[in-house]
């Protein structure tokens, strides 16, 4: 009896309030082992694949580059490096379409069809011997970004303010976006790399404990990690309720530690550092064997894809080639999404390259893309019950339609993380988060223009 009560309490504690429950569709790819995508002819590498300042090219057109060679360096602190995913020649440096549809500076590389594509890694000094500043700068050289979605250069989180002491390292393995299974496969197939990364980061940070948060729909990942954790390690695996957006950093901290991160503060201010599991595995690859971030794990899925797969894809590979490798698109495909369906971006052209934040390539057909006609808001309150940040999306949408942006600011629109739960849940088909996004952008540009 007591046990049952405890189990129930755990069930309720291991989550945040509100949120939505989309069908996760992970069954399409969850069991599929990761395959390597073969090399193709041409690669396009935008210089702004990360949050912050675009990287600065350090190669010239015509120059020969080898796989893993640095081709662009960080241009500021919040910026990171870029490495060539193939051995070949730099064909051009110029404006190319990024996946989002906008033009941005990019390096185009033509693969050498006769090269072995062997990765010659450089030798790094042992991570144990580095000073904190050196550690951050070595991490910046790796080109690793937060792979959970935001693509914040990974080193930024490890540059701690003076006096901040980290108590918890959290490995985010929630993967709450429907369809995506790449973090899942990393946890199952690269368990040791993940645990090695945790060991490195935990040692560097001096953190007391690492918690790996995983949604319950990945029992094999939970099992695999629990089996490999050695007895002396202070690493804990916590199964979490399957609910979107469980992987949002503040929601995850609430779920795991019961702490509500105050608005305006970062997790690090409370002694917590969180990284995506794939990011941690990539950090281990870099610090242990000097492998820069040149390959992205991508879940190719959705009803429009002939052969859903989990692939390791060299950065810069055109989506067209990835889809071709997976048997092509079904003719009734209406939408191809880069990233997850809740927060990803649909691409306008299949020539868009895979970038560091491309966690998924999803093809949707008419059934998924159909939307009912938009009706007026009947104030049913479903969005209010969906918003994990306890905002009132209905009211925000009404104000956004009236362009009353200052009033929206008063009712905390800036706390919105744009998870899209409101739009997902709205029975009237109102594009709530889209309206909020527009308003936030207007508020930002107004602020910039005013000061």
């Amino acid at each position: 009896m007591a046990l049952k009560t405890k189990a129930l309490a755990t069930l309720f504690r291991r989550s945040f309030a509100h949120g939505v429950h989309p069908n996760d569709h992970k069954v399409l790819t969850a069991e599929l082992p990761v395959q390597r995508m073969p090399f193709v002819g041409r690669y396009v590498l935008p210089l702004n694949q990360h949050l912050g300042v675009p990287a600065k090219p350090v190669v010239m057109p015509g120059q020969r580059v080898h796989r893993g060679q640095r081709i662009a360096e960080p241009a500021a602190f919040v910026s990171t490096s870029l490495h060539s995913p193939v051995t070949g020649w730099v064909r051009a440096i110029g404006r190319r379409r990024a996946p989002g549809g906008q033009f941005s500076q990019a390096i185009e590389i033509e693969a050498d069809p006769y090269a072995t594509q062997r990765l010659d890694v450089e030798h790094l000094p042992s991570w144990r011997s580095l000073s904190p500043d050196e550690f951050v700068s070595v991490l910046q050289d790796s080109g690793i970004v937060g792979l959970g979605g935001a693509a914040l250069p990974a080193h930024v989180k490890y540059s701690l303010r003076e006096g901040v002491r980290i108590k918890y390292l959290i490995a985010n393995g929630a993967e709450c976006e429907p369809y995506l299974t790449n973090d899942h496969r990393v946890m199952v197939e690269r368990t040791d790399a993940l645990l090695r990364g945790i060991e490195i980061l935990q040692t560097r940070l001096g953190a007391e404990e690492t918690i790996i948060g995983i949604e319950r729909n990945k029992p094999d990942a939970i099992e695999s990690l629990r089996r490999r954790i050695r007895s002396g390690q202070s690493i804990r695996v916590e199964p979490l309720r399957v609910k979107y957006p469980q992987g949002d950093s503040k929601m995850m901290i609430k779920s795991l530690l019961g702490i509500e991160v105050p608005a305006g503060l970062h997790a690090a201010d409370l002694g917590i550092i969180m990284n995506n599991v794939s990011t941690i595995a990539a950090i281990a690859d870099w610090l242990d064997s000097g492998m820069p971030y040149i390959d992205r794990m991508v879940t190719v899925s959705g009803p429009g894809v002939e052969r859903p797969s989990n692939l390791v894809v060299p950065l810069g590979t055109p989506v067209r080639e990835v889809l071709r490798f997976c048997g092509g698109l079904s003719p009734d495909t209406r939408e191809v999404i880069m990233g997850g369906p809740m927060m990803g971006t649909p691409i306008a052209s299949l020539d868009a390259p895979v970038i560091k934040s491309s966690s998924g390539i999803l093809a949707f057909t008419a059934a998924e893309t159909a939307r009912p006609r938009e009706y007026p808001c009947i104030r049913c309150g479903r969005c209010v019950e969906a918003c994990p940040y306890f905002l009132n999306p209905s009211r925000l949408a009404r104000l956004a339609k009236a362009r009353m942006y200052e009033e929206m600011k008063r009712i905390q629109v800036t706390e919105c993380v744009e998870c899209g739960s409101c739009t997902y849940s709205c029975p009237s088909g109102i594009p709530i988060v889209q309206l909020i996004r527009t308003a936030k952008r207007a508020l930002r540009s107004h602020k910039r223009g005013g000061s």
Partner: protein, 339 residues
């Protein structure tokens, strides 16, 4: 982009949508009301069906007539006009002349909904606006409660129902007082079981407490209902009437009688919960329901009419914008002390 690529949609995330739509939610409400409606027709005879049809027709025709031609189809299909007509009809006496019911429907949609800007913008529950209009304009007809004398008379339609518009209806049916009327004017109680199964006089849809609750449970299961509003309304009614009952059991009815008599269940489950006219936030819903409960008890006990659900809900509708303004949930991460 090559010629054989599919034409791709580009639009902002989220790119998933839950399948429930407004018209599906409306359909659920109609389904939930179906048992109580059928029971009402069975109890009061074919005339009740005619009254219901008239009020629904009044609502739909008004909605149709005042919509822009290209939006008419969508407006008819969202189901909200139909529900307003049905709810209005269910609150009407079974012997009401059809033309009055029709007029009530016109007013419900016209003054209750359309002049505010249509679906989603009205301050007051449209069905209750229609009923308030009828009660104010035709007080005698609205308080004459005909009943079926026995099973054989199902097809006998009381003459009053077919009365010519604006002529004296001439009540010839068997008339009976409602349980609340009996309580108020004759100090006479009705057995609880009769109230539960609906074997009493009253409006077409309000008598069968059991079936109304059943429909409410269905809506709860389908998550179409904010459970807090019926819960707080019924709880508040029970508590306030219990207080009065304890003060003087001779003069005031007990809590169970208060809940199962009159239009309280119909109002609490299907009208107070109208999302457009009730608060959106959890705490707001509690305040709203408690307000309705308190007003129901006050009007029933101290007012001139035996029933007060309609005015209680309309008054709390008026308070909804204020409740929504002051009872917003605390935004995540706001107002937390940082050491």
């Amino acid at each position: 982009m090559s010629a054989k690529d599919p034409r791709l949609l580009v639009r902002p995330a989220p790119l998933l949508k839950q399948s429930l739509t407004t018209s599906m939610a409306m359909r659920d409400v109609v389904l939930a009301l179906a048992p109580a409606t059928l029971a009402g027709i069975w109890l009061f005879g074919l005339g009740a069906l005619l009254v219901l049809s008239a009020s629904i027709a009044g609502c739909l025709l008004t909605e149709w007539a005042f919509s822009p031609p290209d939006e008419r189809r969508a407006k008819m299909r969202d189901g909200s006009g139909f529900i307003t007509g049905l709810l209005l009809g269910l609150t009407l006496p079974p012997g009401l002349p059809m033309w009055m019911a029709f007029l009530g429907g016109v007013v419900a949609i016209g003054l209750g909904k359309l002049i505010w800007g249509g679906l989603g913008y009205n301050l007051f529950n449209p069905a209750l606006v229609g009923r308030a209009f009828l009660l104010g304009t035709f007080p005698v007809a609205m308080t004459s409660w005909s009943v079926r004398s026995d099973v054989t008379s199902f097809f006998d339609v009381p003459g009053s129902i077919l009365a010519f518009p604006f002529m004296h209806p001439g009540y010839d049916g068997v008339s009976a007082a409602t349980p609340l009327g009996l309580m108020k004017f004759q100090d006479q109680s009705t057995p609880l079981w009769d109230l539960v199964i609906g074997n009493t006089g009253g409006s077409i849809g309000e008598t069968s407490g059991l079936l109304l609750i059943l429909g409410g449970v269905f809506l709860l299961v389908r998550r179409d209902l904010d459970w807090r509003i019926p819960a707080s309304t019924l709880l508040a009614t029970a508590v306030f009437s219990l207080v009065l009952f304890l003060v003087d059991a001779e003069r005031f009815p007990g809590p169970l009688f208060s809940i199962f008599s009159g239009g309280l269940l119909l109002g609490a489950i299907y009208m107070a919960t109208d999302p457009v006219t009730s608060p959106m936030t959890p705490w707001g819903a509690w305040i709203f329901g408690i307000g309705v409960g308190l007003l129901v008890v006050l009007i029933r006990v101290f007012g001139g009419f035996p029933e007060g659900v309609m005015y209680a809900i309309l008054l709390m509708n008026a308070a909804t914008p204020l409740i929504d303004r002051y009872l917003q949930p605390r935004v995540f991460g706001k107002g937390i002390k940082t050491e």
